[in-house]
C-alpha cells in the first residue's frame, strides 16, 4: 500500500529526503515504518498520522500521511 512520509527538521539531513511516497506492506505499523526507514529508536521523536499522534503499534492505512519530527520545544 502507498503512504506519504514527511520528515521534519534534522531528519531530512539524516535520511536524505523531505517528503516522498512509499510502498509498504499492508499491516505495517508506525514502529515498523521507523524500522524500514532505519530511524534511531532512541532519538526522541513524535510521529503523527494525518495530523494526529499515532502509537507505535498502530497499523498504517493506504493513503496515510505520516510525519516524523524531532521533539521541538518551542524555542
Amino acid at each position: 500500500m502507498r503512504i506519504t512520509v514527511k520528515l521534519i527538521g534534522p531528519f531530512i539531513r539524516a535520511f536524505g529526503f523531505s517528503e516522498k511516497d512509499m510502498d509498504v506492506p499492508p499491516g505495517t505499523t508506525a514502529d515498523g515504518l521507523l524500522g524500514v526507514l532505519a530511524v534511531d529508536r532512541s532519538r526522541p521523536k513524535i510521529v503523527t498520522r494525518n495530523g494526529r499522534a499515532i502509537a507505535p503499534g498502530e497499523e498504517l492505512q493506504a493513503g496515510d500521511r505520516v510525519v516524523i519530527s524531532p521533539i521541538y520545544s518551542g524555542g
Binding site: G9, P10, I12, S18, G51, R52, P70, G75
Partner: protein
C-alpha cells in the same frame, strides 16, 4: 558574597543622579536574579496604578548569578517594568553584551527612574555614569543607533537601544541589542521611550565575584564545547526554531489568517528548509555555541534575521508566503524596535476586522507592500490608524467594537505567540496563565500534549505539565538568566544549572531549591496583578474567545469540527489553580504565600485587594 556583585545601580533621569546600592545575601538567595530581582523591586517600589508610560514607572535591567561567565548561553539579560500592554508586571529577556559588562562594572541590576528632559544615552563604565545627549539619533532606527554607539565606543561594549517605536511609545515596542536581538515584548521599549532613554551603553572591567572561578572556567568552557558538539550532531541549528513551522502546519497548530485557519498548502514556502536554503549568515548571542539566528536577504536586499515566531506571525498569519517579503517585515519591526509577534497579530487583526465588515479599509491579507506601510505608520503613530494600531489588539478592538474583541488574539493585553490553540487545550492554558500575557516562553506544552496525552483531554496532567515547564522556563531560566535553548532544543541536562550556580555562589543548591524560587516569583507576580486589578477574576486567564467559537472550527484537516469548550477549559484552569495553591480567582492563598515566604508581600497586597 560570591555569585553576586551585591550591588544595584539606581539612576534618576530627571535629576541626572545615580547611586550604588547594596543588597544582602539573604535577599539574593530569596530572589536569585533576573526576573526574581525585577519582580521584587517593582513590587516593593511601584505604587499600584502608576502610569506605565509615565515617569513613575521604572525600567529595570536585571542579571543572574551566572551572567557574564563563560558557560552555555549565559549572555542574556532581563528587562522589566510595569507593562504598557497589560498594566501588570512585564518583562522579557534578550541576548546582549550588557549581561557581561554590567556585572563586570559591579552591578547585578540597573534601575532607571524618572524622565530625562531630552533624548539621553546612559553610559556606564565601571563606577562612572554619564547622561549623554542622544538627540543625534532620536528618530533613527535601531540599526543606525547601534552603529552610532559602536562608532563611539567600539563593538565590544554592551548596548541596549530603542527605535522609533519605543520613542513614540508604541505599546509593544521592544528593547534591542547587538545587530539582531530584541526583548521585552510587554512594551519595555516603550517604557524606555517614555523616559526619553534612547540607549544604554555599558563597559565593565572588574572581575565577577565567584566562589570557585577556576572550577567554573574549566566547567563552563568545556560545556560550551560540548553543547556545540551536541548541536552539530543533532542538526538542530540547520533549520533552528523554524523547523517547527512545517510541524505546526501538519498538526493544525499554525496561525494562518489571524488564527482563523490552522494550516495552509503554501506554508512550505516559508518553512525551515526554505529558510536554510536562503541563509546568508548565522547569528547568536554572547556565550552561545548553538546559534539560532538565520539571516537572509529580504526583498530589498537588507539582512534580516528570522526565527519561527516572526516568520509564522508576519508570514502565514498574514497569508504572506514569500520568505524575502516576510524578511522585509521582520527587518522593519527590528529597525523600528517593535515586537514582531504583536506586530504580526495587530496587522492580522486589522485585516480580519476589515474582512468581517467591522471596519472600513483597503488592507487585505497577503498584501506585503501595504503591511510594510502600516508598520511605518504604527512606528510613527500616524493618526488615526497608525496611532490606534500602536495600542495593540486589545485596545484597538475596544475602539472598534462590533464583536472584534473576540478575535483580538491576546491574553491580558499581550498578543499570543505563534501557536494556534483552537484545539490544543494545554497550550491554550499555557498562554492563559502566563504571568505576563500570552507568551510562549513560559510554558511550551504542545509537543507533550500531542505526543503523550489525548488532544481532547482537559485533565490535570496537562495543568501539571504547564506548571512543570513554568518552573523551568519562566522560573529557572528567567532568574538564573540563561538561554533555555541548550536544555530545550538539544537536551543539555537541567542538573548543569545548579552545578554552575554552586560553583559561582559556593552554595549547595539542588533543582528543588530552584523550583521553590520559581513558585515564589510566580506568586509574587500574581500579587502584583492583584494590586493593579483588585477586582481580578479567572477570566483574565482565558485565551481569546474565537478559540471557543464553533463557527471558527476547522472545516477540514486533523481537527475538523473541533474547538475549545468553555466549561472544560475552566475545569483545566481550576486544576492549574488547585495544584498551584491559588484561589478561584487565580490568586495565591494566604497558606501558599506563607509557604513561599511571602507573608510580608501578602500584607502589602491586602491594602489593595483581598486574599483568601
Amino acid at each position: 558574597m560570591n555569585g553576586w556583585t551585591g550591588h544595584i545601580l539606581r539612576v534618576d533621569l530627571t535629576k541626572k543622579t545615580y547611586k550604588k546600592e547594596s543588597f544582602t545575601e539573604e535577599w539574593a538567595r530569596k530572589w536569585v536574579g533576573g526576573r526574581g530581582f525585577a519582580a521584587k523591586i517593582l513590587y516593593d517600589e511601584l505604587k499600584p496604578g502608576v502610569d506605565p508610560l509615565g515617569p513613575d514607572n521604572k525600567f529595570i535591567v536585571a542579571l543572574g548569578p551566572i551572567a557574564g561567565i563563560p558557560a552555555p548561553n549565559t549572555g542574556k539579560a532581563v528587562v522589566a517594568g510595569k507593562s504598557p500592554m497589560t498594566g501588570g508586571y512585564g518583562d522579557g529577556n534578550l541576548g546582549t553584551r550588557v549581561a557581561e559588562h554590567l556585572r563586570k562594572a559591579g552591578y547585578d541590576a540597573l534601575i532607571v527612574e524618572g524622565r530625562a528632559d531630552r533624548p539621553t544615552m546612559l553610559a556606564i563604565e565601571d563606577d562612572k555614569v554619564e547622561f549623554l545627549p542622544a538627540d543625534e539619533v532620536w528618530g533613527k532606527g535601531t540599526y543606525e543607533t547601534n552603529d552610532w554607539i559602536y562608532a563611539k565606543y567600539g563593538k565590544g561594549v554592551g548596548v541596549l537601544n530603542i527605535g522609533q517605536g519605543g520613542e513614540n511609545m508604541v505599546r509593544y515596542a521592544v528593547v534591542r541589542s547587538l545587530e539582531g536581538r530584541a526583548g521585552g515584548r510587554t512594551g519595555m521599549g516603550a517604557v524606555m521611550g517614555s523616559k526619553r532613554l534612547k540607549a544604554v551603553v555599558v563597559k565593565g572591567t572588574k572581575p565577577i565575584p565567584q566562589a570557585d572561578p577556576a572550577g567554573m572556567k574549566k566547567t563552563g568552557t568545556g560545556d560550551l564545547r560540548e553543547v556545540h558538539r551536541i548541536d552539530k550532531e543533532s542538526g538542530w541549528s540547520i533549520q533552528s526554531t523554524n523547523g517547527v513551522l512545517a510541524w505546526c502546519n501538519e498538526v493544525a497548530a499554525l496561525p494562518v489568517r489571524n488564527f482563523r485557519k490552522t494550516h495552509h498548502p503554501d506554508a512550505w514556502k516559508v518553512d525551515g528548509e526554505r529558510l536554510n536554503d536562503a541563509r546568508i549568515a548565522t547569528y547568536g548571542c554572547p556565550n552561545c555555541t548553538m546559534r539560532c539566528g538565520i539571516t537572509i536577504h529580504d526583498d530589498e536586499g537588507r539582512e534580516s534575521e528570522l526565527d519561527y515566531e516572526n516568520i509564522a506571525l508576519l508570514g502565514p498569519n498574514l497569508e504572506i508566503f514569500d520568505l524575502p517579503e516576510v524578511g522585509s517585515l521582520n527587518y522593519l519591526c527590528d529597525d523600528y524596535g517593535i515586537d514582531t509577534m504583536s506586530g504580526g497579530c495587530v496587522l492580522s487583526f486589522y485585516a480580519d476586522a476589515i474582512d468581517q465588515g467591522a471596519v472600513a479599509g483597503d488592507y487585505r491579507f497577503g498584501d506585503a507592500a501595504a503591511s510594510k506601510k502600516l508598520l511605518g505608520m504604527i512606528a510613527r503613530r500616524e493618526k488615526p490608524l497608525g496611532d490606534l494600531l500602536a495600542e495593540g489588539t486589545m485596545r484597538a478592538a475596544r475602539a472598534y467594537g462590533k464583536g472584534t474583541e473576540a478575535y483580538a488574539m491576546q491574553v491580558k493585553g499581550l498578543e499570543v505567540a505563534a501557536y494556534n490553540c483552537k484545539f490544543i487545550p494545554g497550550m491554550a492554558l499555557a498562554f492563559g496563565v502566563s504571568p505576563i500575557g500570552a507568551h510562549h516562553k513560559e510554558s511550551w506544552v504542545i509537543t507533550f500534549e500531542l505526543k503523550s496525552t489525548s488532544r481532547e483531554s482537559y485533565g490535570p496532567e496537562k495543568a501539571q505539565k504547564v506548571i512543570d515547564l513554568q518552573r523551568i522556563r519562566g522560573g529557572l531560566f528567567e532568574f538564573i538568566v540563561s538561554c533555555r535553548f541548550p536544555w530545550v532544543e538539544v537536551g543539555w541536562g537541567l542538573e548543569n544549572y545548579p552545578k554552575y550556580f554552586n560553583l559561582v555562589s559556593g552554595l549547595d543548591w539542588t533543582l528543588d531549591d530552584f523550583w521553590t524560587v520559581s513558585d515564589r516569583i510566580y506568586a509574587l507576580i500574581k500579587l502584583f496583578w492583584l494590586r493593579e486589578y483588585p477586582q481580578t477574576d479567572r477570566k483574565l486567564d482565558y485565551p481569546p474567545a474565537v478559540w471557543f467559537d464553533p463557527s471558527n472550527a476547522d472545516t477540514e484537516g486533523p481537527i475538523a469540527g473541533q474547538i475549545l469548550e468553555y466549561d472544560k477549559y475552566d475545569g483545566l484552569l481550576q486544576h492549574y489553580y488547585d495544584i498551584r495553591g491559588y484561589d478561584r480567582r487565580g490568586i495565591p492563598t494566604r497558606s501558599t504565600l506563607d509557604k513561599l515566604g511571602l507573608a510580608e508581600e501578602a500584607r502589602a497586597a491586602e491594602k489593595f485587594g483581598s486574599l483568601t
